[in-house]
Assembly symmetry: C2
Homo-oligomer: 569 residues x 2
């Protein structure tokens, strides 16, 4: 492709609204244009990247026996009402009325639709298992769309849904999809990690997320470098075996801590380690107050708290609630001397001689010990986020934390949808059974952003070879003026085209600096520079996108040299 | 692909709601499943057809220098308000409010969006011409969606938009798109015709429709077999040179025609040719009544009437209006003796000694002549549909009428959108100019239905080779029981796969009749039958989908035989 016949439109500066590096670079490289909040047009250059990703996904899904379908974006409310998700899904779902005032939505996902098709089509165990997928446009009305295509409202998703006679069959396909996803992200050239995950709003019993690793990732991932354990921080747990009780080092003592409200402030003020402080959080559910206890250096894991049956709907208590219950203000509350029901994190049970709020403004208690200064907590649960250095739950080492961008998610839905929607089949003995289901999503358009978050430098994008919009850039110096340059450029360009190498020839009448900058910004993996000076010595300059400096290649060797480079990619 | 691993789900009978043959066959062959009114899921078999059509379109558009983009389906109201189409488009446009109560629509077309991108990106004449296209899901909220994917609400469309510095450049691209469309429909294997067309709601100055010819087509097309003239009947005209006035054959005479209201009834009753009767239609605009006169055998062309400036908003007069104006009831009105403003079709001016209503219930007038019994009409226009036998406007013969399904439409938009949206560029002398625009649509999903309307028989679909879901079906007889059959089937299947032939192996444990019927219904162009009886004589039975009977091919020759057949396709 010649740049003169292709729409390359780069910017020196990214628009101010772009925060994330991938968003900035995608706008600067002209891969996308903003139409509105969370709405983007894929320009020719960006669409080439998106299509490459789609095709790799499609090939691997087909190879794994999944069948491609295309379901409507617009879905009737009735099916969503059947599963109750019409109300549950909330404002993320874009609801629509047609001209007859019938209710529809722009599908945020397609469980209801595919289950409806399958329950009408499938009668017998002999027709199962089945795995349908689509690559399709979805809409989720995010409160605050941001980060470009990373969290857009309209986006491209690959969603797959499998149907089975029994759990074993589901587990087989689930495992196959796990492997298929691993192949897909490997082929895309991305560093990724599959992690155990919470099932969230989709529901079901087991799930894994696939994360592209990047420092800017929204999700924290706990993993064990010495084993294959990896889990989203939302779900990761660390065993906390009870230690033998330590001996109290003195009597409980009230101490003035004026204006010191957070554990960190108190620890600094008292010159004690943060992990010797106790964090007390008051929460409320059905107008009853509970105290949650955490070690001062630990963070509450909301999702874990919500899994405690009587706290599934909890919210933080407000100042008034806290005053009523403890007689003091937030920052100085503690479990000592109150009758409030207490839920302690496991790690708290190994604490002794700790500091906690005195339930009196401006005061904390020191040398506090369970079973002496206060009774043992009513409940002990794992309610914290794991931290670096925690033991891995598989006993094979300690955990580390990294950050990732979720680009895939696979779920064992089991019979969540088939029961409520009556998706049944007749088994071998003629009995009616509910189908087991799995579902498997990939955020196709989001992958473009994630790939850039992981692969960029100060000059721009460094696309992995498999998804680069072009494989090779030819930059001629003096194309218009020098017939020799023109001859060699045109001959090589044709030779690359004939070899089906995706080559972008920068035939604009631009300064070399502009062409270099554009090709680097766009992230084309390989480039050659053809100019008068080099040709005098029969050489062409080659530079890989990640190379620090160019190398000189003899003209006659450039074609085999590039071909070899592309084979290695 | 093995049928056992592919979702083939055929029906003996089409659901009652399907009227059109393509709709019936698409449902019976399981290409689509209905989700709701005008909403269909493309099942694996149907999606293969759709994707083949998409790919042919994509290849030809790319070859013609158009660049693929992907614009959002959800579009902000502001851009549509800018062109005024937010109100003009009517109920066909699906309007949506997001969570912040901002107005959006599900894009029925994308002129506003692409023009917005281009006006922001393009500064100079040197950046033009440009031609962007997308293959994308659109929504039009039809009052009465019907005929399956032929008139669905959600559908796949290829829409392209070109931008130019001047009209010549637009005309070049318009001509190139005309040729590209011709190549696309030729490659799709469809009989089609390009016809001059009205520009309708999209606007602009010139346009052509591309019609797949089929008896069931919604559109009537007038064409000249002796030239390349072809036009939608909405637009087709025939020159009607005035003839020398003929001599009145008697005095005007009132005659009783009790209960004879239509021209056909009157002609039959009076035993005169239909073309000797005059049809008088009363229409109304701004509370003023006009009489439209047509020859009795001609049909009114509403679109032509609306192009008469003072009748653009006309509607048919009701009985009360007619009684007020003529003193009689519909069926007996005529132009004689009234002061109403009269608009006559050109062909009426060559009528003499005709019959028309007497403005008295139960009576008509005979031997009526202009300039004797009534004054000449105030206005003479072409306001009728052409009919078979009319002179072609290019003077090269007479017109015939056929029926077609509109699958493509190209428009010269000129500066309609660029002026209203201020899409300008600087020309060579530094002056600001409005861009010239063209737009070019293809109804991608509709083509599947149109292809079936044109290509089917009593057994089912006969897909053109280029868009058939598979090229070859292998039907084994006794696959499970006979090891020799199994060996040969598996060997051949693999051989075809290796040759990249798209083969569907019916490995179900079904009766031969069921397999034959399914493969014919689905419309696979070639099939071979491999059974014990044939193998004893070393033969395999081959039958093309359009062949009346099978032919025997020696086993050793089947592979080259099929390969040759597929090359011819």
């Amino acid at each position: 492709m010649r740049v003169s016949q292709f729409f390359v439109s780069t910017l020196k500066e990214a628009p101010a609204e772009a925060e994330l590096i991938s968003h900035k670079l995608m706008l600067r490289a002209g891969l996308i244009k903003r139409l509105g909040s969370g709405l983007y047009t894929w320009m020719p250059l960006g669409l080439r990247v998106l299509r490459k990703i789609e095709n790799i996904i499609r090939e691997e899904m087909n190879n794994s026996g999944a069948m491609e379908v295309l379901m409507p974006a617009i879905q009737p409310a009735e099916l969503w009402q059947e599963t109750g998700r019409w109300d549950v899904f909330g404002l993320q779902m874009l609801k629509i009325k047609d001209r007859h005032k019938h209710d529809f939505c722009f599908g945020p996902t397609h469980e209801e639709i595919i289950t409806d098709i399958v329950r009408k089509e499938i009668k017998s165990y002999r027709q199962l298992p089945l795995n349908f997928y689509q690559i399709q446009t979805k809409f989720r009305d995010e409160i605050r769309p941001r980060f470009g295509v990373m969290r857009a409202r309209e986006f491209v998703m690959k969603d797959a849904y499998s149907f089975h006679t029994n759990e074993d069959s589901l587990m087989q396909t689930y495992q196959l999809m796990y492997e298929t996803y691993s192949r897909i992200f490997t082929r895309l050239g991305l560093q990724f990690r599959a992690v155990s995950a919470d099932t969230g709003a989709i529901g079901g019993s087991g799930s894994h997320e696939f994360h592209v690793l990047a420092d800017s990732g929204e999700d924290a991932i706990a993993f064990c470098p010495d084993s294959d354990y990896a889990a989203n921080i939302e779900l990761a747990s660390s065993p906390t075996p009870p230690q033998s009780p330590s001996i109290p080092d003195g009597n409980m003592q009230k101490i003035a801590t004026p204006g010191k409200r957070t554990c960190a402030e108190v620890a600094e003020f008292l010159k004690i380690p943060l992990n010797k402080t106790l964090k007390t959080l008051a929460v409320k559910t059905n107008d009853r107050i509970f105290l949650l206890l955490l070690r001062g250096d630990h963070q509450l894991n909301e999702l874990k708290v919500r899994k405690i049956p009587f706290l599934s709907e909890f919210q933080l208590a407000n100042e008034e609630d806290i005053l009523d219950e403890t007689g003091t203000v937030p920052g100085f509350i503690g479990p000592v001397g109150l009758n409030t029901c207490v839920i302690a994190d496991q790690a708290v049970m190994n604490m002794s001689n700790f500091v906690c709020g005195a339930n009196e403004e401006g005061f904390h208690l020191m040398h506090v010990n369970f079973d002496r200064d206060l009774k043992l907590p009513e409940y002990i649960f794992d309610i914290r986020n794991v931290v670096t250095g925690d033991a891995s739950p598989d006993g094979k080492g300690t955990l580390e934390i990294c950050r990732g961008i979720e680009v895939g998610h696979i779920f064992q839905l089991r019979t969540k949808y088939s029961k409520i929607m009556k998706a049944t089949f007749l088994d071998e003995s003629g009995c009616t059974q509910h189908m087991e289901m799995g579902c498997y999503g990939i955020g196709v358009s989001r992958i473009v952003a994630a790939a850039i978050e992981q692969n960029h430098d100060e000059h721009g994008i460094i696309f992995p070879a498999a998804i680069a919009p072009f494989q090779l850039a030819i930059i001629p110096i003096g194309l218009q003026k020098n017939p020799q340059v023109r001859d060699i450029v045109e001959k090589l360009y044709q030779q690359f085209l004939d070899a089906r190498i995706e080559v972008l020839l920068d035939d604009r009448d631009e300064r070399p600096g502009v062409m270099f900058a554009d090709m680097e910004l766009i992230g084309i993996p390989h480039r050659i520079v053809i100019g008068e000076r080099g040709l005098k010595q029969s050489i062409i300059e080659y530079q890989g996108r990640k190379d620090h400096s160019p190398q000189a290649i003899f003209i006659d060797e450039i074609f085999p040299f590039i071909s070899t480079k592309l084979c290695i990619d």
